[in-house]
């Protein structure tokens, strides 16, 4: 029984990580509510959103339902779908009361992303 929902409205790339083998990062999200089944976005295997500095990705109606929290992790995938080869960019956890707004996530490989979200109910 989920009680809360947030919508991820956009992900802005302020800077890409240095670890990619292609221009930009091949970004995908893994969203896990309350430690349950993770959801991959984009859903299709091997799929990702190529992001370079200044790019804004607006996932189509990405609403995350949760009871206690939902953890959103940004990954940069290289080569193929094998997650063992993916690079961890950063993650952010939403709890009830997170409100609406944006969070900036950075790492020492140069990745700098802003995740914007809207609390629905």
């Amino acid at each position: 029984m989920t009680k809360h929902s947030i919508r991820i409205t956009s992900i802005r790339c302020n800077a890409t990580s240095e670890s990619g083998i292609t221009d930009g990062d091949e970004v995908y999200l893994v969203c896990q509510a309350d430690g349950g089944l993770p959801i991959r976005v984009p859903g299709k295997l091997n799929s990702s959103t190529n992001m370079e500095k200044g790019d804004v990705w607006e996932p189509a109606d990405l609403v995350l339902n949760f009871t206690y929290e939902v953890l959103v992790t940004l990954w940069d995938h290289d080569l193929n779908y094998d997650p063992n080869l993916a690079s961890y960019l950063q993650s952010t956890d939403f709890e009830p009361g997170s409100g609406s707004g944006s969070r900036t996530l950075k790492n020492h490989n140069g990745a700098d992303y802003t995740v914007s979200y809207q609390y629905i109910d």
């Binding site: 893994v30 896990q32 309350d34 430690g35 349950g36 089944l37 993770p38 959801i39 991959r40 859903g43 299709k44 295997l45 009871t67 206690y68 929290e69 953890l71 992790t73 094998d82 997650p83 063992n84 080869l85 993916a86 690079s87 961890y88 950063q90 993650s91 952010t92 956890d93 709890e95 790492n107 020492h108 490989n109």
Partner: protein, 370 residues
């Protein structure tokens, strides 16, 4: 069925589910099963009966109930070397079959996700691929109507792909064949838009299987050679009575690993002595002195959680830089508590210190699926 295997199967089911593959509601099988294929499956089922009722087979199959994914994978890889299957495969290779792989798989239900099942098996080359390298695979399927249980049976398949090329999604269409009690058969097709292309045929036998599976959507993963590591690391957590969040991890002082002024940090958490979960699930997060990682990792637990922080070192192995023991009695609902390492990992020349902040967000939660 081992808890670890349930979680590992749930990870594959989750990956399968996240693919958003269009569900198949109705489909016409492009062909049936040939008389020769039926002969192969009849012989395979006979061989399975011989093996599973032998002292060796009984012992092996009893042991499977206590295996995790890697152990099951290692076990199925040995099946083609069992004398009864050596004979069977030799005979199949002598036939003029159009297929390129013969598979033997054990079927399990992904208990954490009702309706999903997993088949862990081995594919050997036949026909034009007789000399090809064998491959272990895991097929995740959505089969509504399956009841929760342990190992659900055995599956044999004949496929038109070489073993290493089996990966991909399939649609299984049940064939109405009178093969005996508890035995079902299906034709499997690759789906390209609305077109179905023949991919293989399979039979399943075992206790607990329902007749009339109709249509099954599935995805076959080839299990790569990942050494001791599971191909997919555990993510899904069984629900327990309490939930905490490891809100943040502070690098008070990194260890001096000789590779710059930062540590490549990751941690393992373990609730109540059960499954070990890495975080980040893959890779690491680099941290310098004084930095805080807002990791936000939720953990279901009943009584206690153990956390071990590592500095990942390629080549020389990972170094432990902090160990934490969190018990329910140390927490207050809704409040953040700072934990210090239970052991000091500093040396005379190297001060090392990490702390974690933990918040207890749910107490006495009713049991239920994750």
């Amino acid at each position: 069925m081992k808890e670890e295997l349930k979680i590992q199967l749930a990870n594959y089911a989750a990956l399968y589910q996240s693919m958003n593959l269009p569900e198949t509601h109705a489909a016409q099988s492009p062909r049936g099963m040939t008389a020769e294929e039926q002969q192969v499956f009849a012989a395979a089922l006979k061989a399975w009966t011989t093996y599973s009722q032998s002292p060796e087979g009984k012992k092996d199959l009893a042991a499977v109930e206590h295996m995790d994914l890697q152990e099951v994978r290692a076990y199925v890889a040995t099946l083609p070397d069992k004398p009864v299957f050596v004979e069977l495969i030799k005979w199949i290779r002598s036939l003029d079959l159009p297929e390129s792989s013969f598979t033997i798989g054990l079927c399990f239900e992904a208990e954490l996700i009702i309706g999903f099942s997993g088949t862990i098996g081995v594919a050997v080359g036949i026909g034009n691929s007789s000399g090809a390298q064998s491959a272990e695979f895991l097929a995740a399927s959505l089969e509504l109507g399956l009841e929760v249980g342990a190992m659900a049976g055995v599956q044999f398949g004949l496929w038109n792909s070489a073993p290493v090329n089996l990966e991909g999604n399939r649609v299984g269409i049940e064939l109405d064949l009178d093969l005996g009690v508890g035995i079902s058969a299906g034709v499997y097709c690759r789906k390209d838009d609305d077109d179905l292309t023949f991919s293989g045929v399979a039979v399943m036998a075992g206790v607990g299987l329902e007749d009339g599976i109709g249509i099954v959507d599935c995805y076959i993963f080839i299990l790569g050679d990942q050494g001791a590591d599971p191909y997919l690391k555990p993510v899904v957590q069984p629900r327990k009575s309490n939930l905490l969040i490891i809100e943040s991890l502070r690098c008070v002082h990194p260890s001096n690993d000789g590779a710059g002024n930062e540590n490549e940090v990751k941690f393992i958490f373990q609730a109540d002595g059960d499954t070990l979960y890495p975080y980040p699930t893959y890779d690491y997060f680099s941290m310098k002195e004084g930095e805080v990682w807002q990791c936000g990792r939720s953990v279901w637990f009943n009584e206690k959680v153990a956390v071990t922080i590592y500095d990942e070192d390629t080549g020389s192995g990972d170094d432990v830089v902090g160990t934490f023991s969190i018990s329910k009695g140390q927490l207050s609902p809704g409040k953040s508590v700072t934990f210090h390492s239970t052991k000091d990992y500093s040396s005379r020349t190297d001060a090392v210190e990490y702390t974690i902040n933990v918040k207890w967000v749910a107490q006495d939660v009713a049991p239920g699926g994750a």
